[in-house]
Amino acid sequence: MGVSVAYSHVVGVWRSFFPTVSLEQIINLHKRFKQLSGNEDTISRENLDSIPALATNPIRKQIIEAFFDKRNQRQDEVGSFHEIGFEQFLMVMSHFRPPTLKTTEEEREVMRREKLRFLFNMHDTDSDGTITLDEYRKVVEELLSKSGAIGLEAAKAIADAAMLEVASTNVPHMEPDEFYEGITFEHFEQILKGLEMESRMHIRFLDVNTTTMHCGK
């Protein structure tokens, strides 16, 4: 069991938060980590940038940023890392666990909030706790970034309409001269309530009870 000794410190950290993951899955992720980092102990942004499959993803910048964002490490810090180690990598991946049959209602609530928080952090690039209209516009622009000029023009309109929707759902009566500063986390939670994030935002092979798939190249 030499393998488990080598990983035991990692497993320890992991298990203290999430006792539901298996050693096999951690080993898989560790293998992948080593592959991405070129056998180093840390990953930098360039390592993630060089993944070929990510090239076609319209929001790859945000995804990569999310790995380096301190807010996703559940330690109430702000800012971003320059490089991350395996523990931080795992911590980010842990946001994508699915619920099991045994997960209680409260645990589901916690999970949902955690996942929504992850999304919120991705949108809130200046870490001020709200998503302003500019930041939201940026999000929609990135989503439509592969569509050229049509995308940019429509992005503004769509982002405006979306923001209006958030404002009118959460703060129904505003005077004409009041100003809606930005989407706070509570408002964000409110508008995405219907999507049931805890069931949708997950990666298949992080579920303990399903047959484990192996990380590919």
Binding site: L101, K146, V171, T210, C215
Partner: protein, 762 residues
Amino acid sequence: MAELLGSSSVRSGRASFCLRVVGFVLLLVFAAAASASRDISNGTSKEPNPAREEDPHHRSNTTHHKKAFPVLSFNYEHVRTPFEISLWILLALLMKLGFHIIPRLSHVVPESCLLIFVGLLVGGIIKAIGEKPPILDSTLFFLYLLPPIILDAGYFLPIRPFTENLGTILVFAVVGTLWNAFFIGGMMYAVCQIEGTGLGGVDLLSCLLFGAIISAVDPVAVLAMFEEIHINELLHILVFGESLLNDAVTVVLYHLFEEFAHIGTVTVADAFLGVVCFFVVSLGGILVGAIYGILGAFTSRFTSHTRVIEPLFVFLYSYMAYLSAEVFHLSGIMSLIACGVMMRPYVEANISHKSYTTIKYFLKMWSSVSETLIFIFLGVSTVAGPHSWNWTFVVLTVILCFVSRMLGVVGLTYIINKFRIVKLTKKEQFIVAYGGLRGAIAFSLGFLLTNDKMKDMFLTAIITVIFFTVFVQGMTIKPLVDLLAVKKKKESKRSINEEIHTQFLDHLLTGIEDVCGHYGHHHWKDKLNRFNKAYVKKWLIAGERSTEPQLISFYNKLEMKQAIMLVESGSAAKLPSTLSSVSMQNIQPRAQPRGRIIPRISKGREEEIRKLLRANLQKTRQRLRSYSRHDLMIDPFEDNMSEVRFRKQRVEMERRMSHYLTVPANRQEAPPVRKVYLADDGDSRAVSGRRATQPNLSSPDAVSLLDESSQRANQRSPDPPRRGPELQESQEEQDQLKLSRCLSDPGPNKDGDEDKNKGFIP
């Protein structure tokens, strides 16, 4: 009969109305009954049908003196077939109408039960008067009644939950149906072997054949029932998807066992061929459907000049897909589903909004009629058909169906849950099992059996099972759903935020999968989407819409819907969508603090605004065209979504500008937009309240007015802040009114614009 009708008109109130309906219906029933029999061509006097008129002239048969010219003659044979068909359909629809008039009944008893009951009644009446009631003919059922229902289901199939649960659905459909068929067949055979039941003549193959017929969950019955209980999307798609996809299994098993029931033995080679046949039938059916779907999508690319016939292409290509699959004994249902699913995204991007509405309503209408007819005929056939009641057989069948379904679902779910992320709970399993209704497909398949010996007994058992599932399970599932507190359907509409985040999530999860190097679900879906965008859409979608991203189309559809909703709710009413008073100006960041002098609008901006207005004003005049069928020209509003966007942008611009205007006593240029509307009247007081629009100002006027009235606006007393929002609303409503004119058929409103004093509804 006529007297009854006459006297009832004297009384008032619902009782008389019901009585009239009943009387009329009975009249129709008699007519239908009479026409159903064979020997009516010579108008025998026995017939109690008062609707016919006998003309004495018609009987004259002497030829040696000149016949009087028949003023009124009678020739029923000529129109017999369409007459009968129409009569039956009318009867069915009147029944349906009748149920909804009686309020308490439709809440307790599901519609399918009521319709079967009516069928029983009608069948009973027909039998009572001595005629032979018609039976649900299998050709009629499979070729005419079933396809509309399946097309309706397939075209509007919610793709996302279907593909997400495809694995589960396939396991239930294939393995579940196989399990049901063999379990029921095997147990029936075992029981038949027991002495004393009188069923010794039933051999294994017949039992298996019977099991194959009775095992399949029926889409018609499931649809009819689930429509009323509003269960959550997951369960709905599981049971419904299963009922659609098990057609392939049923077809193969049925043909397999029927072939071999004649021969008497089955070898291993035959079983192997059966498995191969299953793959051929299902994949072949899907392939045929997909081909026709692509053809349909491709055709719709060129229909921009002949919008009127667009819906027909959808219907005909789908029906051809079904018929072509049936030619080769492939699964027609799967072919139809594949065709609808394949066609839909491309066709919807190509056709006009009106065609889309037409398709939707026609499909719903046909499937509704079909369903009603199927259930009524089921009832009638029950009364009509030759029955051979054998207590053991029938009771055993019912029990076995129920038991095998429960066992099958529970067992399969245990295995499936190992592979699912969102596991199925015990409650959900129970609903899935309980929702497995049998219906008319089983009956028609049973009817097609050629072996007379067992046919009657089988048919009786099939009908009993159908009745049991539809009546007992159908009626009790609603209270059970409430009792078990199963999640109901989410009623809320898709909001733009949810759409943005659904797409965002898709990309995020694909990205995370790529980071992990794991080629999962999302990776392949993303690849498929990119392939679709790069190649397929270019071929199948006309014009520039082929490159339109999904988010933008969603947004455009939403805008369109909102505009239409505003228009339909009546411009005189307050804007319904704003339950909140939040508007664009609340979220736009304020450029500078208030109190300072607001800078003028730059010349460039003004020029932009003027150009926009000019363009729009010119176009408005051209929009109101004639509505001849041959002349249905391209609806410019429809085909140019940027029009809608322009309007919205303009409205928002106005709002922003009028916001600036609420600061009093500033001699700055009032925004030119508002001047156009204020132009012709020098009376500033008319600004308040509602005014008719004047869209047909010619362009030179607009420009000159802008210049002239700048002085006038400054001399006017500025609008008090309270008017601001009101004016904004009136501007917006004027816009919406314009929208309404463009969308609806043009009327004489064009000239009504001149009259300023008219309200919004001309």
